[in-house]
Every structure is written in structure tokens, then in C-alpha cells.
């Protein structure tokens, strides 16, 4: 996918020139407009309706500094009995150029521009303090409010990140992506400290509702090249969708994985079924007319998110785990924000807390 921006802005507070230089190099003929804060960008946003606002945000690139706490706990965490995977995040970007119909960012990003944070030194200083103070192994991910690799050909952020994490004591970097833009990663030796986790879905889903992303074949081919280059690779089959013909499609996906990757090659598998916050379905229906994925049976959980009812969830998980075990019996696996009864039913070892989930996830790496 060729990426273009209608406007590129740089905040006057940015002093670290590494990322702006890369942007300049990629778009040599495009003027970079200097602004003093987000207020000056507002007039460039098309606010005709929510659809325009979201689309407009993908066309405006805003280089600025990150303010606030650098390391955060994964925002997907839900309170109560839900057990999550103990992921930590740093936000180097906010917003995504891809257009996935189920994407939660549609409902929760308030600033409709593609923000890229350039103050890498500050971010690395904070990571350094965190690395020193923690006494357990931590996964830190950059792909919660953006795709970790989607803009890497332009920004080159991951060259700096992978090199930094290569020297960390307790921290592992996880790059979550639906992109196959891995050329920059291949230049760096991750020293076993970076996991690239590809989000996967059957080809038919990718083509219909994961618009502008790399196709399934491209993602798997990128995964293979990264393994050869010394990276750990994991897969996120998330969100799994329930529709007529889902079994056949997901069966084919697992058959493809089995054909292409030997047992032991993939670091972990994360499975997650479609779940969404109130409000998302309405926005997605506006942006993707005729979309059907939100029309199934759903039940609202204590965390207010809608999920498929338990018998449907159990049916799907049973099918997926059966396929996973056929391929790689001992592959570490986890499910995003499911209750303890789910873990009892579908996982060989029941973790007592999120830290134990993290240990299980990382067992092939650490």
C-alpha cells in the first residue's frame, strides 16, 4: 500500500530530528508545516460527520512529543474476573492508516490525526528506569493504538526500538501488526528481545473488512523472513468472527499455518473473539455500509463489552484449540480478557494471576 498524507505537521517543540528526518527523506517534495500545538491543525480536519472525521485523521500526519506516562498497562484490560495477559504498552503513535471494520480506535480516539511521537530519548530514559526497577520479565507493545509496522518504511521508529530493547535486562518488545513492512527490521539484530506478533484472520475476512492491510500471504511470508533473521514471531488470531462458514475458513487458516510453520517455530498464539464497546457498532455501520459482523447474538458482560454468548464462545474456542493442538500441541497460548472458567476449560495450566499468564506466554522465549 502506498502511503500519502494530505498534510504533514511538526510541532515546534520537537527537538529530536531523527524521525522528522526520515519523514523528510520519504516525502522529499512535501512541505512539513510547523505548528504550535494541536489547535492549529483543527481547521484541516473534515468534520462533516463521524465517518469524515475518522477518514480525515488518517490523512494528517502530526509529529510531536509524547507527554505523560510512557509505560502503561494494556488498555484492553477489563476489571473483575477477567484474566488478561499482563501486557504493557508504550504509545509511539496514535491512530492507524488501516481500515478494519471492527477496530476499537474508531470509537475511542479523540484526536483525529496520525500522531507520531518523536522524543525517543525521553521514551528510552523512562524505559531504562522501568527495566531497572522491575523484577520480572515484561512484554512491552507498541501496537495498541496504532499498527506497529504500518508506517515503518516512512518513520524507521522500530530500528531504534529494536536496538534499544536488544540491550534490556527484563523487557521484551512486542510489535503487533497487520503489515508486512519488515525491511527495516531485517537490518537489525534483535538479540532475541523482539517478538513480532502478526494479527491473522482468514483471507476472506482480511479482504472484506481489514482494508488496506497486507494480505494473509504477505503477512505469513514476512513472518518466515523474520524468523530467519532471528526474530521471535507470534500470531494473534483476533478478533475471531462467527458467521456462516466460519469453521471452514478458520480450518483453512490453521491448515495454512501448519503447512508453513513447524511446531516450536511460533512463540505463542493469542486467540480472541470479537468483543466491542457500546457505540462501536453504530460507527462501524456508518463507515462500512452493509457490514454484518455486529448482527449476531451478543451478550453484554460486566465490563460492558459485548461478546458472543458463552455457548458460542465455547464452540469457537473448542474448535480453534483443537486445530491449534493438531498443529503444535505445546504452543503457549492465551485468550484476551476471558473469565477464569474459560481458562479452566481450555488451557492446560490455569494461571492464578496475570503475571503467571505472562510467564506462560513467554515460556518459549525466556
Amino acid at each position: 500500500m502506498s502511503v500519502t498524507f494530505e498534510h504533514i505537521f511538526i510541532d515546534s517543540e520537537v527537538s529530536d530530528s531523527r524521525i522528522p528526518d526520515h519523514v523528510n527523506e520519504y516525502f522529499p517534495n512535501q512541505k512539513i508545516i510547523e505548528v504550535r500545538g494541536f489547535e492549529e491543525i483543527k481547521k484541516f480536519i473534515d468534520r462533516s460527520d463521524s465517518k469524515s472525521i475518522i477518514n480525515s485523521g488518517k490523512k494528517l500526519l502530526y509529529l510531536n512529543n509524547y507527554k505523560g506516562d510512557v509505560i502503561k498497562y494494556c488498555p484492553a484490560k477489563s476489571p473483575g474476573e477477567y484474566l488478561c495477559c499482563d501486557l504493557h504498552t508504550i504509545n509511539l503513535m496514535s491512530n492507524c492508516i488501516f481500515n478494519c471494520a471492527y477496530c476499537i480506535l474508531q470509537a475511542c480516539l479523540t484526536n483525529p490525526v496520525m500522531q507520531v511521537h518523536c522524543n525517543l530519548d525521553h521514551i528510552f530514559t523512562e524505559l531504562g528506569k522501568f527495566d531497572k526497577n522491575v523484577n520480572q520479565t515484561i512484554r512491552i507493545c507498541t501496537g495498541e493504538v496504532a499498527d506497529s509496522l504500518a508506517l515503518d518504511n516512512i518513520l524507521h521508529q522500530n530500528e531504534y526500538l529494536v536496538s534499544y530493547f536488544a540491550e534490556c535486562k527484563n523487557l521484551y518488545l512486542e510489535l503487533k501488526t497487520k503489515s508486512s513492512a519488515i525491511e527495516n527490521l531485517l537490518k537489525i539484530d534483535p538479540k532475541g528481545r523482539t517478538v513480532v506478533s502478526f494479527s491473522l484472520n482468514p483471507e476472506t475476512i482480511v479482504n472484506k473488512i481489514e482494508l488496506h492491510t497486507s494480505n494473509l500471504g504477505e503477512r505469513l511470508s514476512a513472518a518466515r523472513r523474520l524468523i530467519s533473521a532471528g526474530y521471535h514471531v507470534a500470531f494473534n488470531v483476533d478478533p475471531v468472527l462467527y458467521y456462516e462458514g466460519w469453521k471452514q475458513d478458520y480450518r483453512e487458516l490453521f491448515m495454512t499455518l501448519k503447512e508453513q510453520f513447524k511446531p516450536g517455530e511460533i512463540s505463542w498464539m493469542h486467540l480472541g473473539l470479537l468483543r466491542y464497546i457500546p457505540g462501536l457498532a453504530g460507527i462501524a455501520r456508518q463507515r462500512f455500509p452493509g457490514i454484518k459482523i455486529f448482527d449476531q447474538e451478543f451478550v453484554q458482560g460486566p465490563d460492558r463489552k459485548y461478546r458472543y454468548p458463552k455457548p458460542i464462545r465455547d464452540e469457537i474456542y473448542a474448535f480453534l484449540y483443537e486445530n491449534l493442538e493438531e498443529w503444535d500441541l505445546t504452543m503457549p497460548r492465551y485468550s484476551c480478557v476471558e473469565q477464569s472458567s474459560h481458562w479452566r476449560k481450555f488451557h492446560p495450566h490455569i494461571p492464578k494471576n496475570t503475571a503467571q499468564v505472562n510467564e506462560q506466554v513467554l515460556q518459549r522465549i525466556v
Binding site: 468534520r47 462533516s48 460527520d49 454484518k292 455486529f294 448482527d295 451478550v299 454468548p309 455457548p311 472458567s341
Partner: protein, 287 residues
């Protein structure tokens, strides 16, 4: 001036001015809580209820008032269909034209009205459903554009059955997904279900039970099975057919608990969450 404010207090309270702020903004965030029109001038007042302490914070003309309000709340950025109601009421009270408001809000208001203006023509009780956040305009639009006479089979359900807000929201979610899934039109739905709905004679429990079975059959089936397991567990507990002592002894506690509903069971689980007994009970239920 204070006298004037107190004299006109009811008029002020009932004015469209009190609702002239973004629908997405909670009323509590509306820190300039009251606006008064006095001698053709607008005043923001603080805390109308404590009239002796009222403070006039801004005095302005109608034009300035609209501009200031729009800017103050970045209203143009967060216009939603529901805002059409407050803007419409404002226009009516001050005898304005929509064109004038388009100038203040920009083209986004014109487009919003073009697309969602139909909600202003709905009967009042249905407008209230939208305004109170019970019914989504998008769902109604979908139903209308599919030839679905929503007020015959949807909003009437909400108003005629006197459901609570949370029940109304559930019904909307449930029924909305169902009609989309099935691709019904109004004739089909009414032909199939109007008699059934009428037969409930306003009984909420019957309605909700019917809609659950119609729209979410897998969930209903699962819940029935679960209830049956709980009853079975309760029966065994009463008949002393479960060897509780073994697991209880290991935790050094005695159990006196009456499990009649699933809520009882969940409460029990919560209390015993940290012990192995939780696992034992869950296994009994699941097996």
C-alpha cells in the same frame, strides 16, 4: 436586575436556552448552568437555585451568544443527530431560521439536518426516546430505509410496555441485531409478531422473555441449561448427596449457604474465590 431574574425564574428554567449545549456533553459538565434572556440581552448565571448569590458573568447579544456557545463547547466538532432537537427548540423560541444557524455552525449542521432531520418529524414520544439516548437515530434510520414502520413494532414496544431504561436499551440492542440479521421488512415482522405482542397485554416479563427467545436463542438455551444445573445442585445439596466435607475440611471452614438462584451461587463463588472450593463448585456445575 436580581428582582427581574427571580421574577422570571420559571420562564428561564423552561427556556430552550437551558438545553442549548452539546447532547454528548453531560449536563454536569455544563459549568455555566443557566442562561437568561433579560431585556433582549443574554446573561449566563451561576447557580440559579441560590438566587441571592446569582452572579452575572456575561452579557451579550443573540449573535454573540450563539457564537460564544459554539466555541465554548467546540460544539461544531461534536454535532450529533440528537443536537438537532435543542437547536430546533432554540430556533423556535427566538423565531430564527435554520439558514441563520447554518452560518454559525458551518456546513456540518446543514448536512446533519439533511441526513438526520427526519427525527424532528417523528411523534413527540419517539423524539424523547432518541433524546434520552434510549433509541439510536441510526437504528431508526435503518428501519425506516428498510420499509420498516418502526413505530408500529419498535418504539411502541418501548413506550407501551413501560420498560425501565436498561430494559429498553436491552430490547433495542436485541431487536436491532435481530432485524438486521433476518433482513425483515415491516410487513413481515408485523404479520409474524404483532398478534403475539398484543397478546402480552403490556406484560413486561412476557415481552422480554419472548424477545430473548426470538432474538438470542443460543443464549436462552444456555441459560435454561444452567438453571437446570443449579436446580440439580440445589437438590443434591438438600439431599446431602454431595460430599462437601472433604473439600471443606481442607479449607477448615463450614458451609451454610442456601443456593436458590444463580445470584446466590455467584455470591457464594465470590466469597470462596480464593479457595479450592470455588473450583469444586464450578466443576460440579460444568459437569
Amino acid at each position: 436586575m436580581q428582582f427581574q431574574i427571580q421574577k422570571d425564574i420559571n420562564q428561564i428554567k423552561n427556556s430552550a436556552l437551558q438545553h442549548f449545549y452539546p447532547w454528548t456533553e453531560p449536563k454536569s459538565n455544563y459549568h455555566l448552568s443557566t442562561v437568561a434572556l433579560i431585556d433582549e440581552q443574554f446573561y449566563w448565571l451561576e447557580n440559579l437555585d441560590k438566587s441571592n448569590k446569582s452572579v452575572l458573568v456575561l452579557r451579550t447579544s443573540l449573535n454573540e451568544f450563539i457564537l460564544h456557545t459554539i466555541e465554548l463547547y467546540s460544539w461544531g466538532e461534536r454535532l450529533v443527530p440528537q443536537d438537532l432537537f435543542s437547536i430546533r427548540d432554540f430556533i423556535m423560541e427566538f423565531d430564527l431560521e435554520w439558514d441563520a444557524l447554518y452560518e454559525y455552525f458551518g456546513e456540518s449542521l446543514r448536512e446533519l439536518k439533511l441526513k438526520w432531520g427526519f427525527i424532528l418529524d417523528l411523534p413527540l414520544k419517539y423524539q424523547k426516546l432518541i433524546l434520552n439516548g434510549i433509541a439510536e437515530p441510526g437504528l431508526l434510520k435503518y428501519m425506516c430505509s428498510n420499509g420498516f414502520k418502526w413505530r408500529d413494532c419498535y418504539a411502541d414496544i418501548l413506550s407501551d410496555f413501560q420498560l425501565s431504561y436498561s430494559q429498553q436499551r436491552n430490547v433495542i440492542e436485541l431487536l436491532g441485531r435481530y432485524i438486521r440479521r433476518e433482513g425483515f421488512d415491516s410487513a413481515t415482522f408485523i404479520k409474524k409478531y404483532q398478534d403475539v405482542l398484543n397478546s402480552f397485554d403490556g406484560d413486561r416479563r412476557k415481552l422480554i422473555s419472548f424477545l430473548n427467545e426470538l432474538c438470542s436463542p443460543r443464549l436462552v438455551e444456555y441459560r435454561m441449561k444452567r438453571e437446570s444445573k443449579i436446580k440439580d445442585l440445589q437438590h443434591k445439596l438438600n439431599a446431602d448427596q454431595i460430599e462437601w466435607d472433604r473439600s471443606l475440611e481442607s479449607c477448615n471452614i463450614r458451609l451454610h449457604w442456601s443456593i436458590k438462584t444463580f445470584e446466590d451461587f455467584k455470591a457464594l463463588k465470590k466469597i470462596l474465590k480464593s479457595s479450592e472450593i470455588d473450583v469444586a463448585i464450578a466443576e460440579i456445575l460444568e459437569n
